[in-house]
Symmetry: C2
Subunit: 227 residues, 2 copies
């Protein structure tokens, strides 16, 4: 499958690396290709510069949001939540319409310090904003409730015995994404929560997720819905 991954951070890199290892053709989209490649120092969180990472993953291409989206039969949004709408706008609706947009971003607001709060929640969500801004896309929210390495390799933890959620208005798109979650990444417990408004529920998991990271002193955990 031709895939666009939006975002050059840890989440985008982790997903892109996994997908090319499966034989997919992946273009990572970024705002400014030269600016992304010009960075030579780790970011404040210690993430190595993109070009260092890309040298170890030469099959992953880097291009603009627009070129990546035109390439992708599916677009995976792994940008920071605050820049997601802008990234998709730069991609252009003509390169998105009719396609599945897998939204893994979270609306984290770091402006008030740590831990971050959410810049949209409760009566709206980032996924809903994306769906409203690009009504001809088929937005499926998923994978936003665990760290990146578990997104693409849930077997790393408890043999994969934990849960991932999908939210979206398009039943066929959710079924397709569910198949991909199982076939690409090895997820076994995928719960369809309902329409895109149910993404409020998964985005609002972030506050407890962030505090669990602090309490457990590791991000290597996930929620399982026991029933």
């Amino acid at each position: 499958v031709n895939i666009a991954v939006f975002g050059t951070g840890v989440v985008g890199r982790t997903i892109a690396a996994k997908l090319v290892s499966l034989g997919h053709i992946v273009i990572i989209g970024t705002r400014d290709v030269n600016a992304t490649l010009d960075r030579v120092t780790p970011d404040p969180q210690g993430t190595p510069p993109f070009r260092d990472w890309q040298q170890q993953h030469p099959q992953v291409q880097l291009d603009t949001f627009k070129t990546a989206a035109a390439h992708g039969a599916v677009i995976i949004n792994a940008t920071s939540g605050g820049s997601s709408i802008d990234a998709l706008t730069q991609a252009g609706a003509e390169n998105l319409n009719g396609k599945i947009v897998i939204d893994v971003a979270n609306p984290l607001d770091f402006s008030q310090g740590m831990p971050p709060s959410l810049f949209v929640s409760n009566t709206d969500s980032l996924a809903e904003r994306i769906q409203r801004a690009f009504p001809e896309t088929r937005v499926v929210k998923t994978l936003n409730t665990m760290r990146a390495n578990l997104m693409v390799d849930p077997q790393q933890l408890a043999g994969g015995d934990h849960t991932v959620f999908v939210s979206g208005n398009d039943t066929d798109a959710k079924a397709q994404v569910t198949t991909w979650l199982k076939d690409w990444f090895g997820w076994s417990d995928v719960i369809d929560l309902g329409d895109i408004t149910t993404a409020r529920g998964t985005e609002m998991l972030l506050p407890i997720w962030l505090r669990l990271w602090g309490a457990l002193q590791t991000p290597q955990f996930n929620f399982k819905v026991v029933r």
Copy 2:
């Protein structure tokens, strides 16, 4: 232990019945004792009138919030979130100060229809409001993330292999409540999330909890933090 349970709904009743079965002396607090006892028809959710329930649980006493709080060495707040501050105000700070207040309520806002949203979230929480309003109490938020019968009997589900959280500013109070969760109810996995602001995280679990109830067609489930 002498215990006050605030709230005459399913949660308050379930907790009170469990506690008297363990030999504790429990007074349920209510706004207006006569009004509570005068109800003879089920509420809109089908909950039977309190007096029918009390006939089957004669050891559970019913009295005002004030009398219940004066009796209790610990107060369990199982009122609806929207009336919690008012209930505690009626109880009187003089009957609460120095005591542990176990807050199991959720700030559900039904005014916009179903599923409810939260009337406080993200940058504040009901538990924090209670702690600020009654600074001499020791508020511990817990048990607000699963249905009532699982609160008091987690073994009903998967042999108890799922998680309950505690949040609060007072370390000793959290340790005491953790002991009660284990000894009274049989919880085995209790995670201390940190100070009372971490109650934002557990209260914000309600939106996904409500949607899971819809998706799974049963409220008999709970979250397990797999790590």
